[in-house]
């Protein structure tokens, strides 16, 4: 039974990635202007023959299905080809851009997921009070504040208040740990705020839900302390939707916090793919988006498995 469930999920996963690869491949080719045209830019001296040669060099002269098959079979062996512009292996470019994004995601998740439990629990327990309404409204504001706006304003405020502080760009942790963390503070806040707001609301409603259920009432009636009841019983109950939401959020963040990376000058996946799209760097766009979606799908696959462990009914 369990193997069959797992097999089914793995098959789904493969199908989803195949679908993604096809969409990415065709979409980037539907965008007007190809890599060669962009590369030539305002250079109008080129004869059509030379353009054709250039196209042949980067493989754009092949029929689309052949191009797709070549790319797909390469990708299956984890060979994503070389960047049209720089000639570097695509995998090397992605690996370099991966670290800042991974670090950003990890820190933002720690902050967002970590703080959401006490805040959500507080909102559930203080339900109806003025303080709860204030925190709740604050949470919604956190969720709806445009992150690019917050980012730019926070840069302005912080650099005016602490003129000598380096809070921009990216320095690898291994090179300068303190400098690395210092530069991560603002982007992590901008990125984790929506997640924090979302998760704390989820914790709140899951706990309210749990509190209304019989066994918690029973536990209370039996004399368990209110704090113990909320945390132990209700949190356990909230675990499944919580884990799911964290999974979705992590998956999305791995997909590149495009705007935050742009504002804080962080050389991550989001900026890599934006640049690649405007250059029509097909191999780079395809591989980067495939990696992003794959990490999203895998994180959610892991969550699904966890889900199945936590809640045996799912395995039906």
């Amino acid at each position: 039974m369990r193997t069959r469930f797992l097999l089914g999920r793995v098959l789904d996963l493969a199908l989803v990635l195949l679908g993604v690869s096809f969409i990415v491949f065709s979409m980037i080719r539907l965008v007007p202007g190809d890599a060669v045209q962009i590369m030539l830019g305002a250079n109008t001296e080129i004869t059509p023959e030379r353009v054709a040669e250039l196209r042949a060099r980067v493989g754009l002269d092949q029929p689309l299905l052949v191009q797709y098959w070549d790319w797909l079979s390469g990708a299956a062996r984890l060979d994503f080809g070389t960047s049209i512009w720089t000639g570097r292996p695509v995998s090397a470019e992605i690996a370099a851009a991966m670290w800042p994004t991974l670090e950003l995601t990890l820190l933002a998740t720690l902050v967002g997921a970590g703080l959401s439990i006490p805040i959500g629990a507080f909102m559930a327990r203080a339900r109806g009070s003025g303080a709860e309404v204030a925190v709740r409204v604050g949470a919604i504001a956190g969720l709806t504040i445009p992150s690019f706006w917050l980012g730019i304003l926070s840069i302005l405020v912080v650099t005016s208040a602490f003129p000598g502080l380096s809070v921009l760009g990216y320095v690898p942790f291994t090179e300068d740990p303190l400098g690395n963390l210092q530069r991560m503070v603002l982007p992590v806040i901008a990125l984790s705020l929506p997640m924090l707001a979302n998760l704390s609301r989820l914790v709140r409603s899951a706990m309210l839900d749990a509190m209304g259920q019989d066994y918690v009432r029973t536990a209370r009636a039996k004399g368990a302390s209110a704090r113990r009841v909320t945390y132990v019983h209700a949190l356990r109950n909230a675990l499944i939707p919580y884990v799911t939401s964290v999974g979705v959020a992590v998956g999305y963040m791995l997909g590149g916090a495009i705007v935050v990376e742009q504002v804080f000058a962080i050389p991550g996946l989001g900026r890599l793919v934006l640049g690649a799209i405007s250059e029509r760097n097909y191999p780079l766009v395809q591989a980067t988006i495939l990696v992003m979606t794959a990490s999203f799908v895998f994180v959610n696959f892991a969550v699904d498995l966890l889900y199945a462990v936590l809640d045996p009914r799912v395995r039906r």
């Binding site: 030539l40 830019g41 001296e45 030379r50 090179e175």
Partner: protein, 497 residues
Amino acid sequence: MIRTTLLASTACLIGAAAAAQTLDVALDVPPAGLDPHLVTAFNSVLIASPAIYEGLTSIDNDLNVQPGLATDWTISEDGLTYTFTIVEGATFHDGSALTAEDVAASLRRVQSEDIASPLASRIDLVTGIEAVDDTTVELTLSAPFAPLLASLAGIAIVPAEFETDPEALQQTPVGTGPFRFEEWQPNGYISLTAFDGYRVEGQPALDEVRFHFVPESATAQAGLLSGDYDLLPTIDPATALMLEGQPDLNIQTTRDLAYTLIGMNASVPPFDQPEVRRAVNLLLNRQEIIDAALFGAGVPAGPLSPALTSWALDVSEFDCYTTDVDAATALLEEAGVETPVQVRMIVLPRQDARDIAQVAQQQLAAGGFELTLENQEIGTFVQDWRNGNFDMFVSANGGNVDPDLYFYRTFFGGGSTNVFQYADDELDAMLDEARSLTGTEARKEIYDEIQRKLACEGPVAHIAYADLSAAVAEGVSGYTISPIGRIADIATIDVAE
């Protein structure tokens, strides 16, 4: 600025680097590659030349031709043969010595169809390239071509072994300049370190130049104020205004050689009529556009930049530059144009171009032009521009140090960037004559006439030459802003802590 690291052990390991003098430069967009014969994007050129690469000649900050890798040259009577003497003691970053053969191979590389260099047209009249001996190169032209020396400044000399290699230099440039390529972190930075084999004793002064890529202007400003960056080499007028008066930094300003323009498609009605193009010029209020789109930091543009002091006419010589809606309306009526005219205007994705388009939209409406703006993504814009798929466009052009380099390819019938399909036999004759003369005086006479003709009735309404500004941290010495937007003094710039 000195980079210190927390870990003493790391500091020991990289020894000299810890106390190294590094110039940290912030640029908005990373280059797509660093092959000097393939990439013409502004930031690529800024990084590559003259720090990594040098040409036979060079252009100084006053836009005059100076010796580069050629110490001197002679031009034959008929203007058809140029003989260059190559500097002694120059070495490439890979250790090999520069010879005349490298120079010849570089020029052949630019002309080669396999490489398909966009610079090819700059030397398309060169028909013979010969390395006479190790230090002499002779170029033969099919017709006299006055701007050749200026053109050569833009053509980098690379080792002969790359003549047929279209890829290697994109990632790992090899030149003769004062800095050698060290490291490229995509979207992060490009690092160049001092080349100890540079032929000039005591240069470069810096140990490292690091170009950081910072897309947001607000972020770059903040980084300059916090000391992360030492130099923002090209900032827009709004940024210059905001940084003006901040402590510990200086703003340098010069007249940009580049300009913004409104192009008209001379092959579609009603812009195929010279009267209509004159009417467009009469409707535009350039000063208002400059105030709105450039924060007042610029001057109305004629066909040539005032930075070209020996060539440019003052805009007061162009009668159509005084806004006159009635005269424009009369002209349009005379030309039989039925208003309102529906016009599709494509716009370069840059903030100044977008603002210019919006102001022009309002100004031209007074004459009955109804503009639909299409703010396109760069790839789409270039494609439409190249294919002449527009009624009008707003764009920006990098300037040229010689009038011919701009006029000939842009306005000559069938010229390579004549996307307007403008054709005027009289103008073509003048252009041909001007490039065949070598005397500046005689050339100027013709170019004066050309400027008057193009200013009002050409397919381009030149809008503005902006102030080009750079923000420099207090500790940086030896930097002077260049009108072509390069870091021309890179070999002598120093940073004090």
